[in-house]
């Protein structure tokens, strides 16, 4: 009976943890090279990993990045917030005879896609995760002042 209760607790914890991790969706990164021995990389990472990683960056490394990162954090946060209010749409499209670049909002995230004769690169980042990550960094910088 005790084992059953422990198992129930574990299941509930795993379920809650899973729900928390997936609530912001997943970051997708895909790289496909068209040559014969080309690289094919497809990464799917829970978007919540961004803010969590930002929270646990060691203080020493944070100090090193502060000068470069801090001035842009409010802008990144606001851009993510404003983009979140918009419907799915295309922001940039560049088309030439060899390349095709698209930056658009799709399904609550920012999608960047580059198609050329050599490769196809696709990155999708949930905007909520971008907002949360920037907010965590801002909070850490302001606490360390």
């Amino acid at each position: 009976m005790i084992l059953a209760k422990i198992a129930l607790g574990l299941c509930a914890t795993v379920a809650v943890g899973t729900g928390y991790l997936v609530q912001d969706g997943f970051v997708h990164v895909g790289v496909d090279e068209y040559r014969a021995d080309g690289t094919h990389v497809h990464l799917i990472v829970p978007a919540m990993a961004g803010p969590i990683a930002a929270y646990f960056v060691p203080e020493r490394d944070l100090r090193g990045a502060e000068r470069d990162l801090r001035p842009y954090l409010p802008m990144i946060r606001e851009v993510a917030k404003e983009l979140g209010k918009l419907p799915d749409t295309e922001f940039v499209e560049v088309r030439s005879c060899t390349d095709h670049v698209q930056i658009r909002k799709a399904g609550g995230g920012l999608n960047i896609e580059v198609e050329s004769e050599q490769e196809h690169v696709r990155v999708w980042v949930p905007l909520r995760a971008v907002y949360d990550t920037a907010s965590v960094f801002e909070s850490r910088f302001s606490h360390s002042d």
């Binding site: 129930l8 509930a12 997936v22 802008m75």
Partner: protein, 201 residues
């Protein structure tokens, strides 16, 4: 509690937790959807040469305001750009633009030469610039720029040493659907315009 009931409990709790997580995600996503009408700045470049390159850029005005309003770098702070050290060759830009704004509609500058024609005029609340450049190899290039005078006012509002970029963009957004820049030559066309559509088709 028998094994079957325990398994059922595990499944039920796990399902409820996952459902709760997904519901929170869904509600948060719905809350971020805006309902007010957006204004969009569009840039479209089309090259009609053999390469056929095209560039389409669609930027929501509020996004531009959010970006510019939050940049604090060098001369740009909170949407204001400092021009205190700008060399205008002794020209009082503010007085000049005020004179243009207060003047009646009409043509202020007309230059006609073999290579270039330039016309600067004020008409219906807009400052209009029309230039034609003639190149021996590239043919004729036609440039038209329309700037609402309310944008100029907003730009110059803060004071002598600053330009209010955010204010100018807001004034631009309030000026209705309008074509701002048009450039045409033998191989390329460039359009910059403002409307309420998210796509620049």
């Amino acid at each position: 509690m028998n094994t079957h009931t325990r398994r059922l409990s595990f499944g039920l709790v796990a399902s409820i937790m996952l459902l709760a997580g997904l519901t929170v995600t869904s509600v948060r996503a719905q809350n971020t959807q805006g309902s007010k009408e957006e204004r969009w700045l569009h840039v479209r470049v089309d090259c009609s040469d053999s390469k056929g390159d095209t560039v389409h850029v669609n930027v929501p005005v509020e996004l531009a305001v959010a970006v510019l309003g939050n940049v604090n770098h060098e001369n740009l702070h909170n949407g204001h750009i400092s021009v205190g050290h700008a060399d205008l060759n002794g020209t009082d830009l503010r007085a000049m633009l005020k004179a243009v704004r207060d003047a009646r509609d009409g043509e202020f500058v007309t230059v006609n030469s073999r290579d270039t024609d330039v016309r600067v005029a004020k008409q219906g609340g807009y400052l209009l610039v029309h230039a034609i450049n003639r190149h021996e190899n590239k043919g004729e290039q036609n440039v038209e720029v329309r700037v609402p005078l309310t944008v100029v006012d907003a730009l110059l509002a803060p004071g002598n040493d600053e330009l209010d970029l955010v204010g100018a963009i807001r004034a631009l957004a309030a000026s209705g659907d309008t074509e701002l820049v048009s450039v045409k030559d033998r191989n390329n066309t460039v359009h910059v315009w403002l409307d309420s559509k998210s796509s620049g088709a």
